[in-house]
Structures are given as structure tokens and as C-alpha cells.
């Protein structure tokens, strides 16, 4: 049961004590918000300064002269367009792969109920308990030399898309979601002669569109900011994503351009928040 009231009731809200508490909370939250937002503010203003101005002692919140051209230069010199494009390709391919693979697997486990599905489900859940970092080495070796096919996936986007496609979490969430679609829908469609494949595309997917969207957005944002795997797999500077590139060029760029570049790089996920916001209304339950 979700409500719009907190621990205080409406009556208490109007008393002096209640108001004091709310005012106190508001103040604390305001302070926290300011500090939470500070790094963004800092990156933005640092991008407007000259490099020497940034390291000059003394608290200077604002630049002396706003060097707006720094942003243009950072955009050009970092080849932001290229970087954003790369990151976008990595993320979109990763999301598509993950949603597709997981939806099919969840459909199979939820509806088609293959023989041995409990074993398979447990094996999938096992990967939830062991984080990817723990088996990073063989994972990397596999990427350099795919078993049976003997393909080297380093410096390819597939080398990221394929590992990204496997997400036990997404399969779990989708399975729960699919379980809640009433069996009657399927029975009705079966009477009309639809095959399981047809049913998947015609109504399982459309009915699950909201959850697919949320999972897709979350995955997109996560993959956009991912560092380690792209750092290891994409060695060619022309293919690298934003995070990797910004880090690799740390010594080659003056401080103010770095901050300008960083601020620009921070923006796309923030835009994504505007979309996610609607789904965050009631909070998420896990």
C-alpha cells in the first residue's frame, strides 16, 4: 500500500513540532543535494577556466572569464562525436542483445517449461552470486580465443555485445513478469491455432513492454558508463568508448579541457534520468 504521507500524520504536519522537524529535514536534504550536485557544478565551471586557474590556491567557485570556447575545443579535440557514437553503439547493441536473449530464455522457462528447467534456472542464478570480476581472466582469454570457432573478439564490438547479453538478473525479472501473464491468454490463442513462437511475438512481448523498457534503460545507462570490460576489449583508440578514452588521454590534455570533456560525457546518462523518472515514482521493489 503506497501512501503520500510519511511517519507524521497530516495533523501533526501542521503543529509547531512537526514543522520544525520538516524544516530540519529540508535543510539537511538541501545540504546533501548541494554536495551531491557539486561535482557536476565543479566540472562545468572548471571547464570554463584556464588550466592554471584551476590549480590556483584559493576558493574560486566561478571562473574569472568564462572560456566557453573550451567546450568547443574539447568537443573537437576529443572527437566527442566519434566517442559518443562508439559508446552508443556498444550500449545499444548490448541492450538489444541482452533483452532479446533474456526475453527468449525467460519465455522458455516461464511458459514453455523445458525439461530440466530447474537445473538450468539454478545454473543461471549461480552467475548472480559470483560477480564477473572473479572470473575476469578466463573471460578475457575466451574473448581473445572463442572456443570451437577460434575467433579473436578483441577490438570488436561483438566482444562486448556477447558478454553483455548474458544477464541472470534480467532473465529473473522477466521470468517473474511473464509468469504473471494469465494462462488464459495463451489458451485462447492456442484454440485459435497460434504456435508458441507466434504467441511470444504477438502478445508476450507487447504486454511486457513497460518492464522491458525499464530494464533496457537501466542496462543502457550501466553499459554507457562501463569501464573495465571496454578498457580490456577495445584497444583500438578509434573504437573506444567515452569512459576509456577520457581515462587514456589523461596525460595528453590540459586540465580544463579534461573537465570540459568530462562534463559533456556526464550529460547523456542524466538525460536518461528524465526518462527513468516516471518509473521511479513508487520506488522499485526487488
Amino acid at each position: 500500500m503506497t501512501t503520500t504521507r510519511g511517519i507524521m500524520s497530516d495533523v501533526e504536519w501542521r503543529t509547531l513540532g512537526g514543522r520544525l522537524i520538516v524544516a530540519l529535514f529540508f535543510l539537511i536534504l538541501l545540504l546533501f543535494s548541494l554536495s551531491f550536485l557539486f561535482p557536476f557544478f565543479f566540472a562545468f565551471t572548471a571547464g570554463l577556466k584556464t588550466s592554471s586557474e584551476i590549480v590556483k590556491p584559493g576558493l574560486r567557485l566561478f571562473p574569472e572569464i568564462a572560456h566557453w570556447e573550451n567546450y568547443a575545443e574539447a568537443w573537437r579535440r576529443y572527437n566527442m562525436v566519434g566517442m559518443f557514437l562508439n559508446t552508443f553503439i556498444v550500449a545499444i547493441g548490448g541492450v538489444a542483445g541482452r533483452l532479446f536473449v533474456s526475453a527468449m530464455a525467460a519465455y522458455s522457462i516461464s511458459r514453455l517449461k523445458p525439461f530440466g528447467k530447474n537445473v538450468i534456472m539454478s545454473l543461471i542464478l549461480l552467475t548472480l552470486t559470483i560477480p564477473g570480476i572473479a572470473y575476469l581472466i578466463p573471460l578475457y582469454i575466451v574473448i581473445t580465443d572463442l572456443p570451437i570457432l577460434h575467433v579473436n573478439l578483441v577490438n570488436t564490438y561483438l566482444g562486448l555485445w556477447l558478454p553483455y547479453a548474458g544477464s541472470a538478473f534480467v532473465i529473473l525479472v522477466l521470468k517473474n513478469s511473464f509468469d504473471q501473464i494469465p494462462q488464459d491468454y495463451y489458451d485462447a490463442a492456442a484454440v485459435d491455432g497460434a504456435s508458441p513462437i507466434r504467441m511470444f511475438f504477438t502478445f508476450t512481448l507487447p504486454l511486457s513492454a513497460p518492464i522491458l523498457l525499464v530494464l533496457g534503460l537501466l542496462a543502457f545507462v550501466g553499459m554507457w558508463g562501463d569501464f573495465l570490460l571496454p578498457y580490456l576489449v577495445l584497444r583500438n583508440s578509434e573504437l573506444q568508448t567515452v569512459s576509456v578514452r577520457l581515462f587514456a588521454l589523461v596525460r595528453d590534455f590540459p586540465m580544463n579541457l579534461q573537465m570540459a570533456g568530462a562534463f559533456i560525457a556526464l550529460l547523456p546518462p542524466l538525460v536518461a534520468v528524465l526518462f527513468l523518472q516516471r518509473y521511479m515514482r513508487g520506488g522499485l521493489t526487488f
Binding site: 510519511g6 511517519i7 507524521m8 500524520s9 512537526g18 522537524i21 529535514f25 529540508f26 539537511i28 536534504l29 543535494s33 557539486f38 565543479f42 566540472a43 572548471a46 590549480v55 590556491p57 584559493g58 576558493l59 536473449v101 530464455a105 522458455s108 511458459r111 514453455l112 523445458p114 538450468i120 543461471i124 552467475t127 552470486t129 559470483i130 560477480p131 570480476i133 572473479a134 572470473y135 575476469l136 581472466i137 578466463p138 582469454i141 575466451v142 572463442l146 558478454p163 548474458g166 541472470a168 494469465p182 492456442a190 484454440v191 513462437i197 569501464f227 567515452v242 569512459s243 576509456v244 581515462f247 586540465m255 573537465m259 568530462a262 556526464l266 534520468v273 527513468l276 521511479m280 520506488g283
Partner: protein
């Protein structure tokens, strides 16, 4: 002959059909599973098994692996860095208990009281979680800069001495925990907020009528009801801190004086800088054992919570 079935049977049994159709449905089921099975087999199950195997071998990219039994394990347990790294994880965990754990709880309590206005604060706390970590760390590195850093300038205004945030072994962990809290608080706040909203307001009303003050209600009603979820979040926190890599890698490279060396950072070093994949796998096995234990604890606690019907 049409027979209608209950909701728990496979799709195939809506009609009475010959055996081979049932087999065909199994084939379809496995076809749908196939991409996931392939991906998991190649990128998860096989690497997990290989990690354990490699830990007993000398592995390099050029030559085939050589079995050396427990030699790697002897080296790992004999390496002082092993104990330093895990001690650091312990320190990080303790520090994160205060910041990464308590802060989101307090924040969500406050946000929950703010009613409509809380929405804005919730979004603000969530913003850092979406940011590319490596980029954010580059910004933070500058904020923490010893000379012209903003933080130190603020301290100077307040008359306090400047700190060597990332260079002083005594406070570097704290500095990192602050960043990690900044990065992760939003997600926890989201989870706690949903838990808070699930608490039946009638309990609060009854308590208020009985004369409980606001703070008493928080102490005697909210926290006990949140307890099971807090415990689970705590375990998750430990699992998360155990894997910390990006922050020490980008900010301090494990220094100063190995005070931020973590197991994962060392795995990366051993494997990709010293090309000793065997030893790196041994470290990975130790990581797996620890994290797996906590993960099992997490799953067990989750099941218990669901069974009890807690918030």
C-alpha cells in the same frame, strides 16, 4: 478431444495429442533457451570452471598451461600483499557501514517525510548513479587535489589545514568511501523508499494517538520493520565493497603505500601487467569463495524474509 488444463501445465497439453508433438514442444523450448545457454556457457560457466583450473596451473597466452598443483596457493598465502589487500577490504567495509549504509537510510527517511517535495531530492540523489564511473572519478580526483583543490580551499576558509585526501594513507580510504557513497546512495535510497512506503500508515496513526513522539515512532516502529531489509542491504554492501576496483585503479593505483590495494586490483595487475594468469586465478578463487559465501547468505536471508512476510 479437447481437455482444458490448469495454469501450471505446459502449453502443449491443451489438446490430447500424440507423443511426438510433446517432444516438438520441448525442442522449441530449448531453441528459445539456446542463445542464453550459449552465452552463459561461453562467458560465465566455462570461465568460472576455468578460473578454478587455472589456479592450479601456470598459464600464459603463448604456451599451453602447465600443472603446478598448489604452488600458486602457496605463493598467494605467503604474499604479504594478500593480507594487506583483504585487510583493506575489511577497512573499506567498516567505513562503508557508516557512510554507504547509514546515509541512504537516513536520507530516505527524510525524503519520505517531505511528501511531494521529496521527489526532487530523490532524483538528485539518484543522478550520480547514472554517471560513467571513470569520468566521475576524474572529476573527483581534481576536487581532492592537494594544492588548488576545491575541498582544501573550503577548509582553508574555515581555518582548517588542507588534507592530502588521496595521498595520505590514513584518510585516502575515507576519501574513497565518500565517492563511493556519492555514486551508490541513490540506488539504496530507491530501495529503502519503497520499503518505507510499504509500511502501513495505520501503525503510525495508532502510535501517534497513543502519544508516541515522532522520534519514538522512528525508533520503535520504522527501524524494527526495516530491519530485515537493512540486513539484506548490508550483505549486498559487503559483496559490493569486496569487488572494489575502479576507484583505486583510477585514483590511486593501489597506493599510497598499498593502503588502497584491493584483491581485484591485484588480480588485474597480476594478470595484465605481470602476465601471471595462474596466480591471478588463484586470487580470483579466493575472491569467489568469499563473495560466494556472502551471496549464499544473501539468498538465504532473502528467502527467510519472504517467508516471514516482512516489509
Amino acid at each position: 478431444m479437447v481437455t482444458t488444463q490448469s495454469t501450471s501445465t505446459p502449453l502443449a497439453k491443451v489438446v490430447k495429442v500424440p507423443r511426438w508433438t510433446y517432444l516438438w514442444d520441448q525442442v522449441i523450448a530449448y531453441l528459445f533457451l539456446l542463445p542464453a545457454l550459449l552465452i552463459f556457457a561461453v562467458f560465465s560457466w566455462y570461465p568460472i570452471a576455468q578460473t578454478v583450473i587455472y589456479s592450479f596451473q601456470t598459464v600464459s597466452l603463448a604456451k599451453p598451461p602447465v600443472w603446478i598443483g598448489l604452488h600458486n596457493y602457496v605463493r598467494m598465502f605467503g604474499d604479504p600483499l594478500f593480507y594487506i589487500a583483504w585487510r583493506n577490504v575489511f577497512d573499506f567495509t567498516v567505513l562503508s557501514l557508516i557512510f554507504g549504509f547509514l546515509v541512504p537510510i537516513l536520507l530516505s527517511l527524510m525524503i519520505n517525510e517531505m511528501r511531494r517535495l521529496g521527489q526532487i531530492f530523490q532524483v538528485i540523489t539518484y543522478l550520480p548513479t547514472l554517471v560513467p564511473i571513470a569520468v566521475a572519478l576524474l572529476v573527483w580526483r581534481l576536487i581532492y587535489a592537494p594544492e588548488g583543490g576545491v575541498l582544501n580551499s573550503l577548509l582553508k576558509l574555515g581555518g582548517l589545514p588542507p588534507q592530502l585526501w588521496l595521498q595520505d594513507p590514513h584518510i585516502v580510504k575515507l576519501a574513497m568511501i565518500v565517492i563511493m557513497t556519492w555514486l551508490g546512495a541513490g540506488g539504496s535510497v530507491l530501495i529503502y523508499l519503497s520499503a518505507l512506503k510499504e509500511i502501513n500508515p495505520q501503525i503510525y496513526e495508532a502510535a501517534e494517538i497513543d502519544g508516541f513522539t515522532f522520534w519514538q515512532r522512528v525508533l520503535y516502529i520504522t527501524f524494527p520493520l526495516l530491519q530485515s531489509r537493512m540486513l539484506i542491504m548490508l550483505i549486498l554492501q559487503v559483496i559490493f565493497v569486496g569487488q572494489v576496483f575502479t576507484e583505486p585503479f583510477i585514483l590511486t593505483s593501489g597506493g599510497p603505500a598499498n593502503s588502497t590495494m584491493t584483491p581485484v586490483l591485484n588480480i588485474y595487475r597480476t594478470a595484465f601487467e605481470r602476465s601471471d594468469f595462474g596466480l591471478a586465478s588463484t586470487w580470483s578463487v579466493s575472491l569467489m569463495v568469499v563473495l560466494l559465501s556472502f551471496s549464499i547468505l544473501y539468498v538465504w536471508l532473502s528467502r527467510k524474509r519472504e517467508a516471514n512476510g516482512d516489509v
